[in-house]
């Protein structure tokens, strides 16, 4: 290797690995200032104060919880025509499939310095972080732009064209006791890649993992049918469907007969089905509704153990992603490196990886144990016979708003600053020096959002998330426990848990992100 030019890509690779702690989340350099102590203390104080204020409010009277305000956008004729138009959807479908192909192509054949390649920035920041924001704040658009679903539908269409009456999918009956566990396992793997796998920023790894996941997803749909796999096995459809419950939009089918026949069994107690895309694609009586934020989390669905597991995994993942960038975790990693130096001291697999892997696995376990312990208190203080597991399942959605608010506070800087990288990369996706769209020379504007605005936003969001969580828990408690006084006394332990979770979240954003 005489020429230093040959060395660039290789050293870039080495540096990407050496600099791994900064890429604790998948990929991207963090530049946010920690929230100052004053903000943290006031945020925490307001959290505790408002929690009690809300209990006081509820003691006097309770909000209606059986139905909620909604407005059907399809009532507006032109809006319905535009939103259901094939002319809108086809270009969008072509675009997302093209983007999937582009991630694989750039990852495999492009420059291997992560910041010069389209794949890492697109997958880790624009898609994973950005899609999470859009789904939670706008609505579950993933279900319409899921490239694997679209590819599968295209293939189905093609096979029907070639052999009329045939089915592409084997339509094997989905084992009912698998529930969402395939999606949970896949999401756990994704979390591990994001938080523990040192090579996650490398374009090649991004491409290879995308290919592997494509094979699993298309295979799952081919074996069990599209809808079954999307509901139970496609990790992102499942995750985004949880985030979408927070969103201020829903799709609803008002057709009890049809809803009853859907494979997913999505019929709700009032005869409609909400956010069931299988029914939605088949029904004529469909609505696209605007609704209050977070009300989807107050639904009356029967929640099974896999739902509980998925929610706990989501909560733990979000928290661990932030916690793993704090000094405490770096100290733990350093200890782990010393402990495991004999067995694992490679650049990719070392004590740090072991510590992160344990974190990814043990955090959800720890969350579950704590949550179950509090569920036991909740049941006890309501004087109820309900076992802790049943209480835990019933209240599981109520914790989601805190996690979601924290998630936004934690990632907003990354999305706004590092996400800008996609602008030059759109012109030069392979890192070959192209300038296809004329944006190749774009330089990231690091001043796009001021730290002070971010601090208010972060603390405000987390406190608001907490309020919503407390409110949801109250709705659920009224449904769960028969008399009002039992419902209210059940809420003290829940509130304690929520205050702890919220304060931990606030504490995490008050920590400097360390290398």
């Amino acid at each position: 290797m005489k020429s230093p030019r040959v060395l660039f890509p290789l050293l870039g690779l080495v540096l990407a690995l050496a600099g791994s702690p900064l890429y604790a989340h998948g990929f991207g350099e963090r530049t946010e200032l920690p929230v100052p102590l004053g903000f943290f203390l006031i945020g925490a104080g307001v959290t505790v104060g408002l929690s009690f204020a809300i209990i006081g409010l509820f003691a006097g009277g309770s909000p209606e919880h059986n139905s909620y305000w909604r407005h059907n956008l399809y009532q507006t004729r032109w809006l319905r025509l535009v939103l259901t138009s094939r002319f809108l959807m086809l270009p969008v479908e072509l675009l997302v499939v093209f983007l999937l192909g582009l991630v694989i192509a750039t990852g495999l054949f492009g420059d291997q310095i992560p910041s010069s390649n389209f794949a890492p920035t697109f997958v880790w920041i624009v898609w994973w972080v950005g899609m999470g924001f859009i789904v939670a704040l706008l609505g579950n658009i993933w279900t319409f732009i899921n490239p694997w679903k679209i590819l599968f539908e295209w293939a189905e269409g093609l096979s029907r064209l070639l052999r009329p009456g045939s089915h592409l999918s084997m339509m094997r009956p989905y084992p009912w006791n698998w529930g969402m566990w395939p999606a949970i396992l896949l999401f756990l793997s994704f979390t591990w890649i994001q938080d523990a796998f040192v090579q996650s920023p490398l374009p090649n790894r991004v491409a290879v993992l995308t290919i592997i996941y494509s094979v699993i997803t298309l295979g799952g749909m081919a074996i069990f049918g599209k809808h079954q796999w999307l509901r139970h096995g496609e990790a992102f459809s499942v995750v985004f469907s949880f985030l979408g419950k927070f969103a201020p939009t829903e799709v609803r089918v008002r057709d009890t007969g049809l809803c009853a026949t859907c494979e997913g069994g999505c019929l709700s107690s009032n005869g409609d089905c909400v956010n069931c895309y299988e029914c939605f694609s088949r029904s004529e009586k469909k609505e696209l509704n605007i609704r209050p934020f977070a009300i989807g989390l107050a639904d009356n669905e029967n929640k099974t153990n896999d739902v509980l597991a998925m929610v706990v995994l989501l909560l733990a993942t979000v928290t661990f992603d932030g916690f793993s960038a704090t000094q405490i975790w770096v100290d733990i990693q350093t200890v782990a490196v010393d402990i495991f130096i004999r067995v694992a001291n490679g650049a990719t697999f070392n004590g740090r990886t072991i510590a992160d892997s344990l974190g990814v696995l043990l955090f959800p376990g720890m969350f579950l144990v704590i949550y179950l312990a509090f569920s036991r208190f909740i049941s006890g203080s309501a004087g109820s016979e309900l076992p802790a597991m049943a209480v835990a399942r019933k209240f599981s959605y109520s914790l989601i708003p805190i996690a979601m608010a924290y998630n936004i506070a934690h990632f907003i800087t990354l999305l706004l600053i590092q996400g800008q990288l996609i602008i030059p990369l759109a012109s030069d996706p392979f890192g070959f020096g192209w300038n296809l769209l004329g944006t190749g020379d774009y330089r990231i504007n690091i001043g796009i959002i001021n730290a002070k605005i971010l601090w208010y936003l972060s603390v405000g969001l987390i406190v608001a998330g907490h309020i919503i969580a407390v409110y949801l828990a109250h709705l659920i408690s009224l449904r769960t426990f028969q008399d009002r006084s039992a419902a209210i006394s059940s809420q003290y332990p829940m509130m304690m848990l929520m205050v702890i979770y919220t304060v931990v979240s606030l504490w995490t954003i008050a920590q400097p992100i360390v290398a």
Binding site: K2, P4, L11, A53, G60, A347, K452, W455, Y471
Partner: protein, 260 residues
């Protein structure tokens, strides 16, 4: 009590809280010209975190013990620093945030070495102490090792060595026929120390350095101070993309730009 009333209460409380925060956090004032002395030594700088306020006109007076490139991430400003003089690194801190500061030590000596590496042992000078003239390893990640076979013509010489990335790791190899015979001698690098740091071997012995540190090393012959002399005559004129080719990017610390 319905949601709407609840929202009003929330809003009110939040506004009160925001007001309190505002008065607490706004220590304001006009932008200033500030000068901060920064000492770069090894893989750290003093102060470890440089704190300024938004829109300050900042001059960092950088005194580095080694020549190299000082890189402020985010703002993406790079400047070559010469070890002999205090450099003035000027910028306007217009964007708030916490930005990484890294240092890329100059590597001309290394580049020169790469060419010599192929034929080491042939034209070795008597002293054999020149920086990187006898051997130089690749970047050794944690767990990597590097070996160097001591040729016969080194007899009765002492070859000093150090880590090019962390010069505090240093030691020497004394070559003598009186040394105990062995095929290879292993030197562990751990905790930024070489164990053992002085070895005595016969010609024909294989010296193996193993990196058991968390950080990367690059084992190189010569004393650290030789490097500084080598650098003197050379001027830095890299291709700007070459920054990564300089070997390790050393994390020095952070710049914190706080809002006013």
């Amino acid at each position: 009590m319905n949601i709407r009333t609840l929202n009003k209460h929330m809003l009110l409380t939040t506004m009160v809280a925001a007001g309190v925060i505002l008065t607490a956090a706004c220590s304001g004032g006009a932008p200033e010209a500030v000068e901060i002395s920064v000492n770069v030594m090894g893989e750290a700088m003093d102060p470890g975190t440089i704190r300024v306020k938004q829109n300050d006109m900042v001059t960092l007076k950088i005194d580095a013990e080694e020549s190299g490139e000082f890189h402020l991430h985010g703002y993406d400003i790079e400047q070559d620093i010469d070890e002999d003089e205090v450099a003035h690194f000027y910028f306007v801190a217009d964007a708030t945030g916490r930005y990484r500061i890294t240092f890329h030590p100059s590597s001309e000596a290394e580049d020169e070495m790469k060419d010599k590496k192929g034929d080491h042992g042939h034209d070795v000078k008597e002293e054999g102490n020149g920086h990187g003239e006898i051997f130089m390893s690749e970047v050794l990640e944690t767990g990597d090792s590097y070996s160097f076979l001591v040729a016969d013509n080194f007899e009765n010489q002492t070859i000093p060595f150090h880590s090019h990335l962390h010069s505090e790791v240093s030691g020497s190899i004394t070559i003598s026929h009186d040394a105990p015979e062995s095929e290879s001698v292993t030197i562990q690098i751990k905790g930024l120390l070489a164990h053992p740091n002085e070895v005595s071997v016969r010609p024909g012995t294989n010296i193996i350095w193993t990196n058991e540190d968390v950080v990367s090393h690059m084992m190189i012959s010569g004393l650290h101070t030789d490097a500084e002399q080598d650098h003197d005559e050379e001027k830095d004129d890299h291709d700007e993309h070459a920054e990564h080719a300089d070997g390790e990017e050393i994390d020095l610390g952070f710049l914190e730009v706080r809002p006013r």
